[in-house]
Amino acid sequence: MFWQKEIETLSRDKLSALQLERLGRTLARVYERVPFYRKAMDGNGFRPEDLRGLKDITALPFTTREDLRAGYPDGLLAVERTEAVRLHTSSGTTGKPKAIFFSRRDLDQAAELLARCLVMTGTGPGDVLQNMMTYGLFTGALMMHYAAEKVGILVIPSGPGNTERQLDLMRDFGTTVLHITPSYLLYLADYLARAGLDPARDLKLKRAYVGAEPYSEETRRKIESLYGIDIYNSYGLSEMNGPGVAFECAGKQGMHLWEDNFLMEVVDPETGRPRAEGEAGELILTTLNREAMPIIRYRTRDITSVISEPCACGRTHRRITRIAGRADDMFIVRGVNIFPQQVERVLMAVSGVAQNYQIILDSYDQMTVRVEIQREVFDGHVEHLIRLKNLIIDRLRSEIVVRPEVELVEPGSLPTFEGKGKRVIDRRTM
């Protein structure tokens, strides 16, 4: 099923031509209207009319999160403030937030893209979508709300929380689709089990769009079998509309990134130089179809790789692989790139350990992972702890290739972090 079949299956040649045309328009627009970008182009001796091919974009500097913060509240706006109709902010752990403005046309475009994702994954008129994300400054809930209405889906704007009422809504209105965080979906499964309900029998759910928090493939499969529904991986960030930048089709083999709206590059996160095709690196995105606040070469800090092979579904927009981690967090042991998120994913799937962990790097060929045991699993038997430790070592080795040392430590003994803390202690002299 397609929402905009023509554009979704446009030939690669035509798609590239459309990208080039839109990139040219975007560059001309920001050169004229946004001093930050004019200065960046002038500084590199680049004029929008110099653009000949998509590759020429590499002549321009990146836009970073810090640039967006420095531009707060409206320094990067390319329209009069009166032309903007929506504001979203994305808060960092420190400092000023990033403010993103949308014109009426931008919002409509964002909804179109997410509508493609909904229809691509089988949702359509007749479906009932319970939107359990937070409505507010965060893009997730509102963008999904507008997209679902556009497709003709009945939307229940329940927001998160109040599980009893959520359950009533699901039953009374026959909810078929959820938009929800993975942690709430897992909590809900537990709640249903305690209430003696079987989601497959007592609810009409067909699929869930899961976002806002990272989750592992294992968690996806677990949720799919708990509920008997489909989960589709997706990628989005508030700087680029929020959800629906890239989405899995029914094949569930990588996420189609809507290339008519975004120009993607993958670069070495250290040097900023382009990666060879198919190689993992940091995803760089340029908006191609935005009025109020175009962003050029945005450093997402997300690590992924591009799948260029055609997809069985017929869409020509290339796919990206599931996000492997954040560029800022990457470290190297024995020549292998490792992300704390990989370690985190493994630990999340092991019962008996807490989510708190620490990675110690003492040399270039050895890493130590400190893991807190859960108070409840301690039964006084040292053998059980050794078994737990060996299980963690095995699982980590198969995930990150390198065999780590694992130290089990007491619950509460590792420093806790607010939000995305620094869990890697690098003692190597760089």
């Binding site: 301690f378 006084g380 702890l385 430790k389 089990l408 430590v409 007491e410 509460g412």
Partner: protein
């Protein structure tokens, strides 16, 4: 046979860890009757037999230690050559797998108490029910201990 419980404390192998635990017990006025350490490189489990289990449990929990109470077998061991062997052989023949064991002296010139930790205490008790062994209870240990 009434159960004997020991208190196990999880401890990462850091200097001063044992002293920190025994300090808490001393402060709470608890008498340590027996102690054993099961270590595995970076962490260990320290097991105590104490005169007041509930009080020790409370004191250590309050200080945030990770603890577990588990039942062990306390068997009187004759203070003669082959005394340990007699029990070990019996356990072997009954197919009872001993995880850890340690001895406590009884009052002067008497026998000793062998504390045995097994994976399944209930099953071990059942298997040893009709054997000529003397199992000691918690009060008996306190009385008999040297």
């Amino acid at each position: 046979m009434t159960g004997v419980r020991q208190i196990s404390v999880f401890a990462s192998n850091r200097p001063g860890k044992i002293a920190a635990i025994t300090g808490v017990l001393a402060e709470a006025g608890i008498n340590i009757m027996g102690m054993n350490i099961a270590s595995s490189g970076d962490f260990g489990v320290i097991k105590f037999l104490v005169n007041d289990l509930e009080k020790a449990d409370r004191a250590l929990r309050e200080k945030g230690f990770t603890i577990s109470l588990n039942e062990v077998l306390a068997i009187e061991m004759e203070d003669v050559p082959g005394g340990l062997h007699r029990i070990a052989d019996l356990l072997y023949r009954k197919n009872i797998n001993v995880e850890y064991s340690y001895g406590l002296p009884m009052k002067p010139h008497r026998n000793a108490i062998l504390i045995i930790e097994v994976e399944d205490v209930e099953q071990a008790k059942l298997l040893l029910k009709n054997e000529p062994l003397r199992f000691l209870s918690e009060p008996e240990i306190q009385k008999e201990r040297g």
